[in-house]
Symmetry: C2
Subunit: 305 residues, 2 copies
């Protein structure tokens, strides 16, 4: 089984604190990197950690609040200074292209690579990107502005060949890829050899869901059911449940309830209000009382899953 | 004598490093705060230091390169979350108002205070602000885009009253302010009492000059002569003098030479290229070989002068 690595570049919310940069995280999966949100200081956090981002070609912006996107133009500028040449794709809500047009024109008109803004509809669960090994979907969220999360889902992998059975049944090399994908085999005598005799189960695929910012909404559950890791915002403690509703954020217990209902393997909560900066543990304990396998995102934390 | 305090929020240049945020510093003088440049992460650095900015009403932007202004909109947004109500003035080169119009409209259209962009001509040495105690001037610099530094100059202070002489000569209370400002006094018998008999010299005034970014230029010397503290950029070591010229930056020796020719009391160098992040001391030593009283700006350093 391959592993994925999630690096928390910023676990904070609107107001940065002594401990937390605004939202940003780097997902590494199957040799590729995906940046999710890009709050102010994202590039600083990366540099402080000594992260290399040569395999980063796609950035996903959940919504156009500053704490999720104010680091974009700085990052784009710095990539130019680092002599990037590969195209960069920035996936964001409708309007992001126009919003960044004047800044791109003024600050980034001479960069040595191309930036493509790709807009998506935040109200639909839709595949917005795929390659050989991964599919990425938008997850509609409910917030004060159009917002969506993202589901990263490894594609089904090839079944494992039983080498000795392949030899025994004289499967020609040209058939191997089909067999790996689950096809049965018909041998020289016309006899059907079932695939399960030739292969074993493929390696497990990995899935990660990012849901921030959002009010508590059960509509997301079907899309994130069973994921290996769920990041869900938990801006408030239970005592501020009313405020969470007004500002269209979630409490830690609500985040944990979503995790439980969606039967995810692990929950990481973040985006805690700056009011908890000296007692984040209270918020974590509230989440754990509902869903035990919960951890609290911290800046520069690396989660392997 | 009052003191001034300069807090380095970011001492870096275009590329942030493990140690340096991009350019930003907070000057505190006579109960007021002035922010000079506002690179990405300025508000984060402030929060990490636990700085209060209640007395900050004016921001001065030297030029419109990202490492000197990408922190502006985040800072403005966060001030709103912190319930700021006082007007905020942002002094910047011509074009700054238009450049920030769409971001202000999109991200800051509901903030509870007013932001005034005030444009200045970077090619003139001109007073751009004054109040009861301070005057602030632009210092024309030479860079790839319109750029200027800033001179902060405390106004002449009142002379100190010799209380016993005031009593002896029966100076009425109504005359005291004039006497403090240097006026002679004519007593009841019509006799002139010279001011120097009634007062002693006023406290020394403080001056600070910020010069970044710029190629080596002696034209600035008359404007900064004798200042208590000069911040001058020193992007490169002497070995990169040619590159400094091409990119219109200064070497550390050039910064020190300006300090020496301008007979300033102390020099602080900063804006070192990220290439020196692990050996900044070499650059400092080069400056000190020309002007001994030089220090190297470091993030979160506080300089009292």
């Amino acid at each position: 089984m391959s592993t994925a690595r999630l690096t928390i570049l910023g676990a904070g919310s609107a107001l940065p604190t002594r401990y937390n940069f605004p939202s940003s995280q780097l997902l590494e999966l199957r040799e590729k990197q995906y940046l999710i949100d890009c709050g102010e200081g994202t590039q600083i956090s990366m540099r402080q950690m000594g992260l290399k981002t040569k395999r980063l070609n796609r950035i996903f912006i959940s919504h156009l609040h500053g704490d999720h996107c104010f680091g974009l133009v700085g990052l784009i500028s710095s990539f130019a200074l680092l002599n990037r040449t590969a195209d960069l794709y920035i996936h964001g809500p409708k309007g992001i292209t126009e919003l960044y047009a004047s800044q791109m024109e003024f600050f980034c008109n001479q960069i040595p690579y191309t930036v493509h803004f790709v807009e998506h509809d935040t109200t639909q669960f839709q595949k917005i990107h795929e390659d050989r090994s991964i599919e990425i979907y938008t997850i509609p969220l409910k917030h004060r502005v159009p917002a969506c999360g993202f589901l990263f889902k490894e594609k089904a992998k090839d079944r494992h060949i039983k080498r000795e059975m392949i030899d025994y049944h004289k499967v020609p090399f040209s058939q191997i890829n089909l067999i790996k994908q689950g096809a049965d085999f018909i041998n020289e005598e016309g006899k059907l050899i079932e695939n399960k005799l030739l292969t074993t189960e493929p390696a497990k695929t990995i899935s990660y869901a990012y849901c921030s910012d959002t009010i508590y909404t059960e509509t997301i559950i079907p899309w994130i059911t069973g994921v290996d890791l769920l990041y869900h915002e938990a801006t408030f403690a239970d005592s501020e449940a009313a405020r969470a509703k007004t500002t269209m954020h979630s409490t830690a217990k609500q985040a944990a309830s979503i995790a439980q209902q969606a039967n995810v393997k692990q929950l990481v909560i973040g985006h805690l209000s700056s009011r908890y900066s000296s007692n984040q543990n209270i918020v974590l304990q509230e989440a754990k009382s509902v869903f035990e396998n919960t951890i609290l995102a911290e800046d520069k934390m690396v989660i392997e899953f």
